[in-house]
Structures are given as structure tokens and as C-alpha cells.
């Protein structure tokens, strides 16, 4: 594609596996987050270490989260647990399948791995400036993920989401007997619970930035590309971000 080409070109941006996984995640993560807050409401205090109860010192103590953000909307620890424990395995196995599939079809290698020169401080700084000025890539550069975008996706995919799954498993007394090493990675059950809570909010932070970027970059085109796969490449413009 040349910069003189004035017709906007339409490309296939997202694979079917990515799109399916993306929307399944929307359902699973919303369910997990909201039911998770419902579970947290039963004991809204967090501790570090192996144990922690009312007579021990918490590092964080909150009030109960309001009903509009919990699942179910009224206080029910039992129901919140059922929602959470139903969505968790679907979410975890979907992530596992997506990772295996992305390894096989080259999605990780082609789209998410950092390229040579991309992680040079100057390049990253340029990308930060472009984001700060809300200058989004156009033309050929818009067909690839930029370096901050890759960083955000990689952090979510390889850090936040696995930490959520494994810290969740580490809270299960049955799993503690089955895999005693798992809880040691997190430094005890109450630490696992704290890390689970932090990772959940880190994922929410990702979500907020993600939504902001979608809205700023053109919500219709972005959302359509995640549903149908087809993406209208913004025509090359002078002064816009290079990659």
C-alpha cells in the first residue's frame, strides 16, 4: 500500500480465535470481577502471610462494595461463589487453549513478540509521546500493534491473568493438599488472597485504558474489527505516529 492511495483499505485484522476469546473474556471477566467483589464483601479485609482473621492486622480494610457492582446484586456469599466458581474454569481453560493456539498459529510470534529496535528507549519514548498527543498510527503502521500496546497485552496475557488463575487456585484448601507448592509461590493463603485482589484491579486498570483507547481510536471501526475481523486502515497522514 502506498501513501498516495487515497482509498481506505480494509484488512482482516483479528483472527477468529482472538475474536472468540476476546468476547468470551468479556463475559467471564465481568462475571468473575463482580462475583469476586461479592465474595470479598463477606470479609472486606486483606492480610499478608498464611493466616489472617478479625483479630489480626489487615493491610487493607474496606467497606462492602455496593450492589450495582456485585453479582448477585444483593449480598449472598453462596451465590457469588457459585457464579465465580462456574466462570473460573471456563475462563482458565479458554486462556490455556488460546495460548496454545496462538503459539501454534504464530499469533504470539508475529503480533505480540517485540521486534528488534522496538524496545529501544527512544522508540518507546516516541510511542509514549504519540499516545500522550493522542496521535494514532495510520497507514501501514496501523496494521500492527505498537510497542505500548504489545506491552499492555503481554502484561495482561502473561502476568495479570495467570496470576489471577493461580492465586485463585491457591486459595482452595483442596488444591492446597493436591499442589502444596502452589501456595508457597504466593507466600501463604492470605497473601494469595491479597494478590488475587490486586491482580483483579490491575486487570480493571487494563480494561479502562483499553476502552479509552478504543474510543479514541474510533470505536466503530475497532469494535467491528473485533466482531467481524475487518478493519478499515486509517489512510496515511503526515505527522501521525509512525509505528
Amino acid at each position: 500500500m502506498s501513501s498516495t492511495d487515497i482509498r481506505p483499505s480494509i484488512i482482516k485484522r483479528h483472527r477468529l480465535s482472538t475474536r472468540l476469546w476476546h468476547w468470551l473474556n468479556v463475559i467471564c471477566l465481568a462475571t468473575l470481577f463482580m462475583s469476586g467483589l461479592g465474595i470479598f464483601n463477606a470479609h472486606p479485609r486483606l492480610y499478608w502471610g498464611q493466616y489472617g482473621a478479625n483479630f489480626d492486622a489487615p493491610w487493607l480494610e474496606l467497606r462492602r462494595f455496593p450492589g450495582w457492582i456485585t453479582l448477585p446484586g444483593h449480598y449472598s456469599l453462596a451465590d457469588a461463589r457459585h457464579w465465580h466458581l462456574a466462570a473460573a474454569p471456563i475462563f482458565a481453560f479458554a486462556l490455556l487453549l488460546y495460548m496454545l493456539w496462538s503459539l501454534l498459529n504464530g499469533h504470539f510470534k508475529h503480533d505480540l513478540a517485540f521486534r528488534k529496535g522496538e524496545i529501544a528507549p527512544r522508540h518507546i519514548w516516541q510511542d509514549i509521546l504519540d499516545h500522550a498527543r493522542l496521535r494514532f498510527p495510520t497507514g501501514e503502521a496501523a496494521t500492527r500493534y505498537n510497542v505500548l500496546q504489545k506491552g499492555a497485552y503481554n502484561k495482561l496475557l502473561f502476568l495479570f491473568l495467570p496470576v489471577l488463575i493461580f492465586s485463585g487456585l491457591a486459595m482452595s484448601p483442596g488444591m492446597n493438599a493436591a499442589w502444596p507448592w502452589l501456595i508457597d509461590i504466593f507466600g501463604g493463603r492470605q497473601s494469595a488472597r491479597s494478590i488475587h485482589f490486586i491482580a483483579a484491579w490491575a486487570t480493571v486498570a487494563f480494561f479502562l485504558v483499553h476502552i479509552a483507547m478504543v474510543i479514541l481510536a474510533g470505536p466503530l471501526n475497532e469494535v467491528r474489527s473485533m466482531i467481524t475481523g475487518w478493519y478499515k486502515v486509517p489512510p496515511e497522514q503526515e505527522g501521525s505516529a509512525r509505528s
Binding site: A78, D79, P173, G174, M175
Partner: protein, 254 residues
């Protein structure tokens, strides 16, 4: 203009969708068929955990310096019934543990008899379904030992634990476990916590410890252990007080 419009439409659309999804979720939450489907995921978790672990895989045992400074009580802190108060006043000298149901030799054991039997001591973590944990040192008689003495019949599938506390409803607190957990080496009927006789708030004179499950399974104020073949005919049919009353999982290893 069109961009502003589409953004406003998007925001409005998103909020409307979110609101309808929320009320939709709550409606689903109250739909009996959906609840049944939701509740069956417990079976997946039990199957997965039992597949991943050995029948006798142990819960972590800690050393004395890991123990919680104070082991809080939860649920019933004192049954406060006339019957229980009479037993307590007498130092539980008149208390008996009945072991009956589908057994060949029903037993009736005094506290002194239990104290005279072989013991197991374990420093383990107690995890409440609410999210808190406390580490304490339990001493008690392995349940397997008592079940061997009582000789379970071949059609016995579950052990039912009847308690002295009535909660606030018509039926008393009760719990149940299957034979995998009943014969687990760490499953004990504990009479001591942190080297002292069980206090009333922790379940005096005797409580169950099933170390691979959550706190509500650790039935306190034990009066009777009954071997049964089926849980569906007993009280609410779900195998435990909290299971019947609030819909908590019967398998609480999760």
C-alpha cells in the same frame, strides 16, 4: 458531529446494555433451572480436585510459631440450649457421642473414653468461606479408628454429624462428608485446641476436623455420628445446614 453523536450513542448504548445485563444476571440468579446448572459446577471442581490429588494427600501442617495468636470462633459461639447448658455445667461428664446408623456395632462414648484412645495432633489452617484463615493446633481421635470400631455396613456412603446447636431455625446444625474424607488420616474428632480442652466458642466438647475443606464443614458441638447411604432424605436434603439454608457447596474443598 456524527462522531459526537456516535460516541453519545455508544455511551448510552453501553450503559443501557450494562443495566439490562445486571438485572438480567439477577433474574438468572433467581431462576431455578439456571441455579441448578450453576450449582453443578461444584461437581466439576470436586472431580478435578480429587483427580489431581491422592486420596490421602495431606493438608499442610505448620509449626508452633506459625500459629494465629487468637483462634476466633464463628457461627454459633454457644448453643445455649437447656440440654447443652446442663452438659456444660457438669464438665461434659454426662455427654456421650453416639455412633450409629449403618454400622454393625453402634457405639456410645464418653469424653473420658475418647481421651483414652490413640490421638492425632495437627497444626493446620482453618479457612472460613468468608475469606479469613486461622492456624491452630488440634488434638483428637482419628475418625477412621472409630468407624473401624463401629464397623460400617457396606451400604454406608456418608457420615452425618449431628450437633447440639439449633441455629435459629427448626433444624439443628448438621454436616456430612463422604468416605474419602471420613477415612482421611487428618480427619479427626478434636477435643483440644492449642493444648487446651475445646472452649465453648470453638465447639466444646468435640468437633470435626476435615482439613481439606472449608470452615463450615468442621461441625462443632458433636452429639452423634450417623452412617447413612443417602443425604437426600435428611433435613433439607443438601447434606448440611448451610448447604440447605443458603446454598453453599456440599463439597467445600474449593
Amino acid at each position: 458531529m456524527s462522531i459526537a453523536l456516535s460516541r453519545r450513542a455508544l455511551v448510552t448504548g453501553a450503559s443501557l446494555t450494562a443495566a439490562s445485563l445486571l438485572s438480567g444476571c439477577d433474574r438468572l440468579n433467581n431462576n431455578p433451572t439456571f441455579r441448578e446448572a450453576l450449582f453443578t459446577t461444584e461437581n466439576f471442581h470436586r472431580w478435578a480436585q480429587r483427580s489431581l490429588s491422592d486420596r490421602h494427600s495431606l493438608a499442610r501442617e505448620f509449626s508452633p510459631e506459625d500459629m494465629s495468636p487468637f483462634f476466633r470462633g464463628n457461627g454459633t459461639l454457644n448453643p445455649n440450649t437447656e440440654g447443652y447448658k446442663a452438659l456444660w455445667r457438669n464438665g461434659f461428664a454426662d455427654w456421650r457421642l453416639q455412633i450409629d446408623g449403618l454400622v454393625n456395632r453402634p457405639l456410645s462414648l464418653s469424653l473420658a473414653q475418647l481421651l483414652g484412645m490413640p490421638h492425632r495432633e495437627q497444626i493446620t489452617r482453618h479457612d472460613c468461606v468468608e475469606g479469613w484463615s486461622a492456624i491452630g493446633k488440634w488434638r483428637g481421635v482419628p475418625l477412621a479408628l472409630l468407624l473401624k470400631a463401629a464397623q460400617l455396613k457396606t451400604n454406608a456412603r456418608y457420615l452425618l454429624f449431628h450437633c447440639a446447636d439449633n441455629m435459629d431455625s427448626a433444624h439443628p446444625y448438621y454436616e456430612s462428608i463422604d468416605l474419602v474424607d471420613a477415612f482421611h488420616p487428618q480427619t479427626i474428632l478434636a477435643f483440644a485446641l492449642n493444648d487446651e480442652p475445646l472452649k465453648v466458642l470453638n465447639g466444646a466438647p468435640l468437633r470435626l476436623r476435615v482439613e481439606r475443606q472449608l470452615g463450615y464443614k468442621q461441625a462443632k458441638y458433636l452429639m452423634r455420628v450417623e452412617a447413612v447411604s443417602d443425604l437426600r432424605q435428611i433435613y433439607g436434603g443438601k447434606g448440611g445446614y448451610w448447604e440447605d439454608v443458603a446454598g453453599y457447596e456440599w463439597y467445600a474443598g474449593i
